[in-house]
Subunit: 224 residues, 2 copies
């Protein structure tokens, strides 16, 4: 008898669940484990072993590119209910790149082992199809990120970032270091610090040890 | 009776042909037309109508992003035998971005109308699966391009470009304007001109109206 909680979660979040045979469902559950990642830990890296498919129950994963010099470019984030397939790129023939994935918050997920997932996807066309469909959704995210990084000027990019982050939390203060912000918007700390000083001189924000407090939301919005 | 040439081409290049019913094959052929594009013409743009799936018989298509200011970033190229699905992004729910596609050479292709392709993909899971798989391959190309653009320094990027282009043609002279090169490597004309002058001052290339002649292949290779 399968764990009803797990089955109900799979029904909602494993894309091809309804197209699995009873045997495939049972085998899938047997090859799925609960995993947790501490905030800041590495989930998947270019050199690490192939993890498998992750279905996030709680927390947040961040996917990014890493240059040889250590520069990071955030591609997209995934939260509760999202299914991460790029962590199983080793078993997806059409995907020939590797990204880094970190836990941005303490994260709990279901992990379907790569080897089992690979077999399942060969047995069941719906699994393969849904997997590539999920990859295509991420492709869309990456294209969005790429356009932001390549085409948006820095003041606008920073303003959009501050605006979006505060919209999530609802407050008026962003408690992140310049280094963290630079990572998220694909820039350098010095550039972010310089631009924030400019924002402060314009009366848009106030800078302190505690973070960045927005003083003039209208001016900030106008930049976005 | 279906045109045997067309059928034989479809068998080789339409990914899910072998999984179509005879009726689906016939309907597909009836909804496929031969198209040709003159060098330089627009195949698919952000504002243009949804073209459909293109199977290239001859020539070369270039896919790129275009900024509001007119800056272009080349993402990938497709040649004979390649199937272009991003020109049918309107019927792919998981793809929410739009790219520009131009004919880089005089190009001949088979075009499957978007509306028919959409119906076929809903009837036949293999068609949907192969389409998203092709999209995932392009995702890989885009990730490669993104890493080149974001992480490779300009001298290296330019040297790699010249090296690769000459490897294709076999000569020692690249007959392209600085503007064209800048487009291909996602840079500005001024940056390319400056870097080429530097290459010339190092004795790596010789610049003339006719193009860029490589004088020192060893030095050029060392930069790549």
């Amino acid at each position: 008898m399968l764990n009803p909680d797990l089955v109900s979660f799979m029904e909602r979040h494993f894309p091809a669940w309804r197209n699995l045979t009873p045997e495939q469902r049972e085998a899938l559950v047997q090859n799925t484990v609960e995993v947790s990642y501490k905030k800041g830990s590495c989930v998947h890296g270019a050199e690490s072993e192939c993890v498998g498919v992750l279905i996030i129950r709680k927390g947040m994963l961040r996917t990014y590119l890493l240059s040889e010099e250590g520069r990071e470019i955030t591609l997209f984030r995934m939260g509760a209910g999202d299914t991460c397939v790029l962590s199983a790129s080793c078993v997806l023939n059409a995907i020939s790149f590797d990204v880094h994935i970190d836990a941005e918050e303490d994260t709990e997920a279901l992990l379907i082992y790569a080897a089992h997932f690979s077999r399942l996807k060969e047995q069941n066309i719906y699994v393969e199809c849904e997997t590539y469909k999920l990859a295509a959704e991420r492709f869309s995210d990456v294209m969005w990120a790429m356009q932001q990084i390549l085409f948006t000027s820095m003041d606008k990019r920073l303003a959009v970032y501050i605006w979006d982050e505060l919209s999530k939390t609802g407050g008026d203060t962003l408690r992140q270091t310049h280094e963290q912000i630079a990572r998220h918007i694909g820039s350098a700390r010095e550039v972010v610090s310089r631009m924030l000083k400019y924002f402060a001189s314009e009366g848009i924000v106030e800078l302190s040890r505690g973070g960045i407090k927005v003083l003039d939301k209208i001016k900030l919005k106008a930049l976005t």
